[in-house]
Symmetry: C2
Subunit: 476 residues, 2 copies
C-alpha cells in the first residue's frame, strides 16, 4: 500500500491532555468515535491531525507549541503528528454549542417543531459569524500551513463542524486535494431552508469546495445532491462509503476484565428475555417512544410480564443545551411511568442507567436477546454493528428504517418506523418469539457482514476515493 | 368552449343548509375558498359536486335526498347538481380532525417536533382505517354512482382530505378520467416517512391513481415526484397550475357598504404607517415570529415608534385541536409582550383582532402600507394576491420564500426567510422606507400579474390538463 500524506481535520482529536494527581501531564487516547475510525489511516500513512484543544491542559499544550505540531503515537506505536487549535472560548462555544450542536444537528435530524423553533435571531447571527465562521477559518488556516509544509498532502475534513473550512482552504490553495466525510444525515432541501439564504448557501458552497464528499448511505448522498440542486448546483464528486467498526478492538474488549465484571452483574440480575438499548440521551435517538412501545408490548402481551426486561444504557449527552436536559427529563419520566404501570413487588420492567460506561455497554451487547435501535434519524448508528458482533445469544436486532445502518443491515433486522409505537411493539414481540433457527440465521448474517465490512475496509475506500478524478469545478 | 361533464369531489361543498329564525330551510353559499375557485367550472360546464354534509341541516337534507343529487344555482343563476354525503360523526371526526387536519396538514407543513410528536399509536391506526379510509370510500362510491349516471364525466378531486378516493374509484372504474388538485405543500420524502410504511404507500398510490395531479408550484410538484420516486415510482402526469382569484368579486367587494364601514373605522384609527397581516391562527402561518420581528423593528428603529402600527386580523382556526389552541395562546402572549414593551400612553403598536370578519380584511387590504405574509410553509397563500389587487396606497408586500405565491410574485415582493427574525425586521424596515416610485412600480406589477392570472385562467388550465394524454399506468 502506498504511504500517503494526509491532513486529517476534525473538531475532536485523537488525544487529549490532562494532569494526573502528581501534577504530571498525561495523554488520554480517545476510544471509540472518529479516533478509532481513523486509526487505520494513522498506522499506515503519514498523518497530521488538526483538532480543537478541548481540555484546559490541551490549551496549555497548544500554547506551548504555537503553530508547531507534536508527534504522538497510537496504541500500537505508530507515530503521527497532532496540532491542537486553542480557539477563543466564547467563539468555540458559539461554534460548537450554538451552531454545530444547537442548530446544524437539529436541522440535519429534522428535530425542530417549526411553529415555534428555532429562533434564528441576532444571537444566532453573531454565533455564525463570530463563532462558526471564525473557528472554521482557524481550522482552514492551520490546514493551509500544513499544506505548505507538505504540498502534496490531501486534506480530509470530518463532519458538520467544518462545513466552511474547505472553501476557506480552496480560496488560498486552489489546487489542493480536499475531501469531506459527513457522518450525520443530510436533510432535504425544504428543511435546509430553515437557515437564512446566505447561511445555507455558505454551507453548501463550503462543502462543494471539496473534491469528494462522502456519506454513509445512498439516501443521505441523494439528499445532498438534491439540496445542492435546489440551491444552485454543485459539481463535486460524491461517494457512499458506510463506516465499519474495528473488529479486533471489540474482540479484545469483550473478554477484558472490565467487561467480564459488568457482564457478571448483568447475568446476575437479568430477566429471562433481555431487550437492550445503548444510546446517547439525544432527542434523535427516540428513547421516549421506545419506552412507550415497550410498555405497549407488556400491555398487549401480559404473558411476557416478569419474563422480559429492558436494559437502557444511556450516556448523558450535551447537557449544556436546554433541549437535551428536557429530553433527559422526558426519558426518566417515561421509564418511571412504565415501571409504575407494570412493576410488581421487586420486578421493574425497565432498568434505566444514565452513565457513560463503555464496558457495561459491551457486556449488554453480549447479553441481549433483542437489541432495540429505533432512532428518528441517524447518520449510521454503530450500536447496530457493534452489538451483533459480540453478542452470544443469537440476539435479534430491531432497527429503524431511518438509521443509516438500515441500508446495509435491513435484510437481517426487523425494520420499524420510529414514529409508529404499535409497529415497534409488534416488532419487539416478533423478535422475542422468533424461532431459534431464524434467530441464528439472522445473527450469523449480521455478524458476518459486520466482520467483512470493517473499519479497515472503510479507510481503504476513503483513500481510494481520494484518487477519483478531480472535480471539474475548483472553486464553487 | 366545449361544455364538459365534471364531477367535483371535495370535503367542503359550495353550499350549506341551515334553518332561519322562522324554522325555514335556507341555503348558504360559500364565499371564498374552493367554492369561489370553482365557480367558473360551475357556470360553464355540467357539474355535479360531491361534498360532506357539514351542518345539522346538511345532514337532514342528505337524509331526505338519499343518493339523489339536488339542483342548486350559483349567485349568477347557473344550475349545477350537489350531492351531500352524511358521514357517521365518529368516522368524520377521525377523518377530518385526526387524520386530515391533525396529521396530514402537520406533515405537509413540516410542523412536528419529531423528538416527541406525533404519537402515531392505536388511536391513529383506528382513525386511519375507520375514519380516513371509510370516508374516502364513501366519496369514491358516490363518485362511481355519478360516473355510472354520466360515464363520460371526468372526476376532479380536491386536496388532502381525499388521497385514497382516486384509487378506490380506479379499482371500480379502471377507464375513468381522474384528476386531483393539491392545494397545500407536498413534503419531501424524509418527512413522509413519519407515517408508517403501509399508510404512506397508500397515500402515494391513492394520489397516483389519478391521470393528472396538479400543484400550485413547481416546488411542490418536484417534491411530489421525488417522494413518489423514493416510495416506488408513479407514472401519473403532474402539472403546475397556480390558482388565482376572482377579480370581479374583489372589485365589487371593495366598494361594498360592509367594507366601506370597516374601512372608515380603520382610517379613523390608523397610524401613519400601517403593517397588515391577515391569516387563520394556524401554526404554519408564523404569526408569533411575525410579532417578534415587528418588535425587533421597533427596537432597532425607535424613530418608527408611534408612527408605525401592525394590524393583525386573525381568523380563529381549528380550535378543537390542542396544537391550535396553544398556538392561539402563544399569539396572544407575543402580541401583549410587544405592546407592553413598546406601548406608551394610548399608543399600542400591535392591534390584534381575533375574529372571522371578511369585510374587515378587505378594508385592511385597501389600507396597508406593508402587507406581511411570512408563513413557515404555505401551498399558495391567497392573501398575497387578494390584498395587492384592492390596495390603494402602493403598499409593499413582504413575502416568505416558502409561500407558494412566491414562485409567481417574488420579483416584486421583498423576500423573507420565515425563521429569520432579523431578516424579517430588516425587510419591514426596507418596505416602510421604500421610495414612492419603487413602491408604485412594484404595486402595479403585482396587481397587474394578479389580474392577468385570475381564477378563470386557473379553471381553464385545469380543464386543459384534463385533456392531457392518459397516464400509461391505469392502476397503480
Amino acid at each position: 500500500m502506498e504511504r500517503r500524506k494526509l491532513i486529517v481535520v476534525s473538531n475532536r482529536g485523537p488525544v487529549s491532555f490532562a494532569r494526573d494527581d502528581n501534577g504530571e501531564r498525561i495523554v488520554r487516547r480517545g476510544g471509540g468515535g472518529l479516533a478509532t475510525a481513523l486509526r487505520g489511516f494513522v498506522a499506515h500513512h503519514d498523518v497530521t491531525w488538526i483538532a480543537s484543544a478541548m481540555s484546559d491542559e490541551d490549551r496549555v499544550v497548544a500554547g506551548e507549541r504555537g503553530s508547531e505540531a507534536m508527534v504522538e503515537r497510537t496504541r500500537t506505536g505508530a507515530p503521527y503528528r497532532v496540532r491542537l487549535l486553542a480557539h477563543e472560548p466564547v467563539a468555540y462555544d458559539r461554534y460548537y454549542n450554538v451552531v454545530a450542536n444547537g442548530t446544524l444537528w437539529f436541522l440535519q435530524h429534522y428535530l425542530w417543531g417549526l411553529a415555534v423553533e428555532p429562533e434564528l435571531g441576532r444571537a444566532f447571527r453573531v454565533a455564525w459569524t463570530e463563532g462558526y465562521e471564525s473557528v472554521n477559518r482557524a481550522f482552514a488556516d492551520a490546514a493551509v500551513a500544513e499544506l505548505d509544509r507538505e504540498p502534496g498532502a490531501a486534506v480530509c475534513f470530518h463532519d458538520y463542524h467544518l462545513y466552511l473550512a474547505p472553501a476557506f482552504v480552496r480560496e488560498q490553495r486552489p489546487a489542493a486535494r480536499l475531501m469531506q466525510f459527513i457522518h450525520i444525515p443530510w436533510a432535504q432541501a425544504d428543511y435546509w431552508r430553515v437557515l437564512p439564504e446566505d447561511i445555507r448557501r455558505a454551507v453548501h458552497e463550503g462543502v462543494c469546495a471539496n473534491d469528494v464528499v462522502g456519506f454513509h448511505t445512498e439516501r443521505w448522498r441523494r439528499n445532498f445532491l438534491q439540496s445542492c440542486g435546489a440551491f444552485g448546483g454543485c459539481q463535486t464528486e460524491t461517494v457512499v462509503n458506510p463506516i465499519g467498526i474495528d473488529i479486533d478492538e471489540f474482540e479484545q474488549l469483550k473478554d477484558s476484565p472490565a467487561v467480564l465484571a459488568e457482564e457478571e452483574r448483568i447475568v446476575g440480575s437479568r430477566p429471562e428475555l433481555l431487550v437492550v438499548r445503548v444510546d446517547r440521551t439525544d432527542p434523535s435517538k427516540n428513547i421516549v417512544r421506545g419506552f412507550r412501545a415497550f410498555g405497549l408490548l407488556l400491555e398487549r402481551h401480559p404473558e411476557l410480564q416478569h419474563r422480559v426486561g429492558m436494559l437502557a444504557l444511556l450516556d448523558p449527552s450535551r447537557q449544556n443545551l436546554a433541549e437535551y436536559r428536557e429530553y433527559l427529563a422526558a426519558i426518566e419520566h417515561e421509564a418511571r411511568a412504565v415501571n409504575e404501570r407494570f412493576g410488581q413487588g421487586e420486578w421493574r420492567p425497565v432498568d434505566l442507567q444514565i452513565a457513560d460506561n463503555f464496558p457495561q455497554a459491551i457486556a449488554a451487547y453480549k447479553q441481549f436477546d433483542v437489541l432495540f435501535v429505533n432512532p428518528i434519524f441517524d447518520g449510521m448508528n454503530l450500536v447496530a454493528k457493534e452489538a451483533p458482533l459480540v453478542n452470544g445469544r443469537d440476539g435479534v436486532v430491531v432497527l429503524s428504517e431511518n438509521a443509516g445502518a438500515h441500508e446495509e443491515l435491513g435484510d437481517w433486522t426487523l425494520t420499524v418506523n420510529p414514529f409508529d409505537i404499535e409497529g415497534q411493539a409488534e416488532a419487539l414481540h416478533r423478535a422475542l418469539t422468533m424461532p431459534a433457527a431464524e434467530r441464528r440465521r439472522r445473527a450469523e448474517a449480521l455478524s458476518g457482514y459486520v466482520r467483512e465490512h470493517d473499519i479497515a475496509a472503510w479507510a481503504d475506500a476513503q483513500l481510494a476515493d481520494l484518487d477519483r478524478p478531480a472535480s471539474t469545478i475548483l472553486s464553487p
